[in-house]
Amino acid sequence: MSRRARVVVALSVLLMMLSSLGAVSAQTLKVTAEAWYYNKYKLEEAAARFQEDHPGVEFEWSKAGDFEVAPLMLAWSRDRYVADIAIVASPSEAVAFQARGLLHDFEDVLVGKYAKENWLEGFLEQCTMDGKVYAIPTDAEVMTLVGRRDFAAEAGLTDADGYIIPPKDFDELYEYLQKLTVKDETGRTVRYGMTVNWSPEYMCYAYFSGIQAMRGTIYDDEGNLDFSSPEAVELLRFWQRGVDEGLISTSSLVEHSGPRNDMQSGLACILWEDHARVIEIGHVVGPENMQIVPIPGSEENGTVSYTMSLMIPTSAEHPELAKQFVLEQLNAEWFAHDLMDRWGKLLGLKEHVEAKMDDPIWKTVFQLADNSVGLPKTVDHAKMVDIMTAEIHNMLKMQQTPEETLARIREQIAPLNLEPLG
C-alpha cells in the first residue's frame, strides 16, 4: 500500500467514525402533514415536551398543501419520500402503502397503557390491515348532525331544558327543517333548516352515514356498497326535496367550508358533517347554543366514522423514536384534551374521552363512536367518491331523479375495483 493510499484510508476511517458519532448525538425526526394540521395541532409544543424527555432529538417539519396530499403520497408510494412520521388523510389511502410494504406496524408498542383494548375500537380497526395496526388514529370523527339550540327553541323544537329533541325519523327531521327555515317575502331563504357537507371530501361519509343510520349497514344484500336499497332512494329524495324547497343549503357544492361558514354566520340551523364542528362552531356562536343531534336511526343503527392517521414509512430513519413520539406526546392527555377543547377532534385512546364523560356532548360522541363503522379500503376508492359526488350533485341540482342517480352510480362503479383490501 502506498503512503498516499494509507492516508486516504486513515482519513476515511476517521470520517466514518465522526459521521457515526454525529448520527448518535443528533437524531432528527422528520414529520410531514397537510398544512392545516400545523395550525390546529400543537405540534411544536409536543416536540418541545418530547425534547425534555429525550435530549438531543431534533424535529424537521414539512407541510403538504391542503387536500393536495395525492402527489405527496404518489412520491411516497415509490419509496422516494423520506419521513419518520407522515400524517395523511385516511387509512383507506394507506392501504396501498401497506400492500407495497412501505409501512412499519405498531404491534410491538401497543402494550400496557397502549394495549389495543384501550383504544376506541372502530378507529383502531380502520387502521388495521391484514390483522396488524399500521397507523395510529388522529383527528377521528363521527358523522352526525349538530344543531343550533337557540334557533330550535324559537321553532319550538326543544325540551324543557332547552335541548333539541332528536327527531325519530327522516320524516320528522323534514318537519324540523320546515319549521327552522326562514324565508323572506320574495320566497328566498334567509336561514336554512340544514346544511349538508356534500363536498368531495365528505360526500362518501355523509351518504353512508345516512344509509347506516337508516339500515344498520352500508352494504346491500349482495355485500356490495349500497346504492340500490329503498332507503338509499329515501335518503336521496330527502336531500333533493330539501334543496328544491329551499330548506337545505347547497353551499358545500362549491366550497368545502361552506357548511361551516353557514353555521358560523347563522345562515343554517343544523349541520350534517362531523361531530368536531359542534365545538368549533360553538367558539363563534357560543357553546351553549350548540348540540349534537344524532342522525335519525343512528342511535340504534350506528353511523359512519373516519379518521386521519399517523404512519411511519419504512424509509424512516428513526422508526422507534417516531413511535415513541407518536404515543408519548401525540396521544398524551394534554394533547388530546387541547384538541377536544379547541377543535372537538378526537384521538384514539378511550381514557381521554372517558375523562370528559360528564359533558353531554362528549357522552353522545362516545356512544356514537362506539357504534360506528368505517368505510372499506379499496383500490378505486377515490374514483368511486368522484362518481358519487358528481352524480349526487347533479341530482341536487335537479338534473335527475334519485332513482336515476343511483342507477348511474351503479353503472359507473361497476368496472371499478371495490373489493375490500386488508
Binding site: 392545516w36 403538504a64 404518489l74 368545502h256 354566520s265
Partner: protein, 282 residues
C-alpha cells in the same frame, strides 16, 4: 379610432368616457380585493355588504407579514423559478437561435421541424411523463424540479424568436468580425448578440409571464408548502384552517399583485412586444 374623423368633438368625449368605464370594469376585481384587504373580518362578512371600508385597518397586512410564514416562501419560490428559468432560457435560446439563424448544417431541418411540432402540443401531454421522470430523478418538490421543465417548455418558442432575430442581421457585420480574427463564439457573443437585444427582451418577457402564472405543473410537481409558488400557494389558503380569513387572503393577493403590476405598467411596451412574439404558441 382612426376610421372616425378626428375633428368630431363629441365622439372623442364619448370615447374618453368609454375608456374610463372599461378601465374601471377591468380593474374592478383588483380594486375590490384591495378594498376588502383594508376591512376587518366583521365588516367583510357584514350583511349588507359595504363597498368602501367603514374604517381602514392594517391588521390583514400585519397578519400576512407576521402570521403567514408561507407567504414569503411562496414569493421567494416564484422568484427563484422565474429567475432560474430566465437564466437558462436566455443563453440557451440565444446560442441555439444563432446556430439556426446563421448556419446551414445537417440536421437543421429535423430540429426545426421538432420545434414547430412541439409548439402545437399542449403542455398537458408532457405532465405525466415529466412527473414520472422527476420522481425517478428525485427532482419532485425542489425548485430545480420546476425550473428544468419550465425551461424546456419555453425553449422552442424562444429559439424560434431568436432564430428570426439573428437572421435579420446583415451578414456584413458577421463577416467583418470574422476577418478581424474573432472565433465563432466571440462573434456570437460580442458582435451578434448585442444586436438582438429586443429579441432577448421579448423572450425574457413572455417566459417571465408564462412562469409567473404557471399553475398546473407547479401544482403537480411540488407538494410541500415550502416548495409552492404563489399561483398554487395562495389559492390553497382558502381551505380548511383558513376559513373566515378572506381579509388575510385579500391582503396576500394585493401584496403579490403589486410588484408585478408596477413592473407591467413601467415596462408595458416590452410586455406588448413579448406577448406579440409569444402568441405563436397556443
Amino acid at each position: 379610432m382612426r376610421y372616425l374623423s378626428s375633428n368630431q368633438k363629441l365622439p372623442r368625449a364619448l370615447l374618453f368616457l368609454l375608456g374610463v368605464l372599461v378601465s374601471l370594469i377591468v380593474l374592478s376585481p383588483i380594486i375590490w380585493i384591495i378594498l376588502t384587504s383594508f376591512k376587518d373580518t366583521k365588516e367583510i362578512y357584514a350583511v349588507p355588504l359595504t363597498v368602501w371600508p367603514r374604517k381602514f385597518v392594517w391588521t390583514n397586512y400585519l397578519t400576512v407579514i407576521n402570521g403567514l410564514p408561507e407567504f414569503p416562501i411562496y414569493f421567494v419560490n416564484t422568484v427563484k423559478a422565474t429567475l432560474g428559468t430566465l437564466l437558462l432560457v436566455l443563453p440557451l435560446s440565444a446560442a441555439a437561435g444563432y446556430a439556426m439563424g446563421r448556419y446551414d448544417f445537417p440536421g437543421k431541418t429535423a430540429v426545426n421541424a421538432f420545434i414547430i411540432a412541439v409548439l402545437a402540443i399542449p403542455y398537458l401531454v408532457f405532465l405525466v411523463p415529466i412527473y414520472i421522470m422527476e420522481d425517478i430523478l428525485g427532482l419532485l418538490d425542489t425548485n430545480l424540479g420546476l425550473i428544468l421543465p419550465y425551461t424546456a417548455l419555453n425553449l422552442p418558442l424562444a429559439i424560434l424568436i431568436m432564430q428570426n432575430s439573428y437572421r435579420e442581421i446583415p451578414s456584413e457585420l458577421e463577416d467583418s468580425a470574422r476577418i478581424d480574427g474573432a472565433n465563432a463564439f466571440q462573434t456570437w457573443l460580442l458582435v451578434m448578440t448585442p444586436l438582438v437585444i429586443t429579441g432577448l427582451a421579448a423572450v425574457a418577457i413572455f417566459t417571465f409571464v408564462a412562469v409567473w402564472e404557471e399553475y398546473m405543473f407547479a401544482r403537480t410537481l411540488m407538494f410541500s408548502t415550502s416548495a409552492h409558488t404563489l399561483s398554487v400557494g395562495l389559492p390553497s389558503l382558502q381551505v380548511e384552517s383558513k376559513t373566515w380569513a378572506y381579509g388575510t387572503l385579500s391582503a396576500a393577493l394585493a401584496l403579490s399583485l403589486l410588484p408585478i403590476s408596477v413592473v407591467f405598467v413601467v415596462l408595458r411596451k416590452y410586455f406588448i412586444e413579448g406577448v406579440l412574439r409569444g402568441s405563436v404558441k397556443g
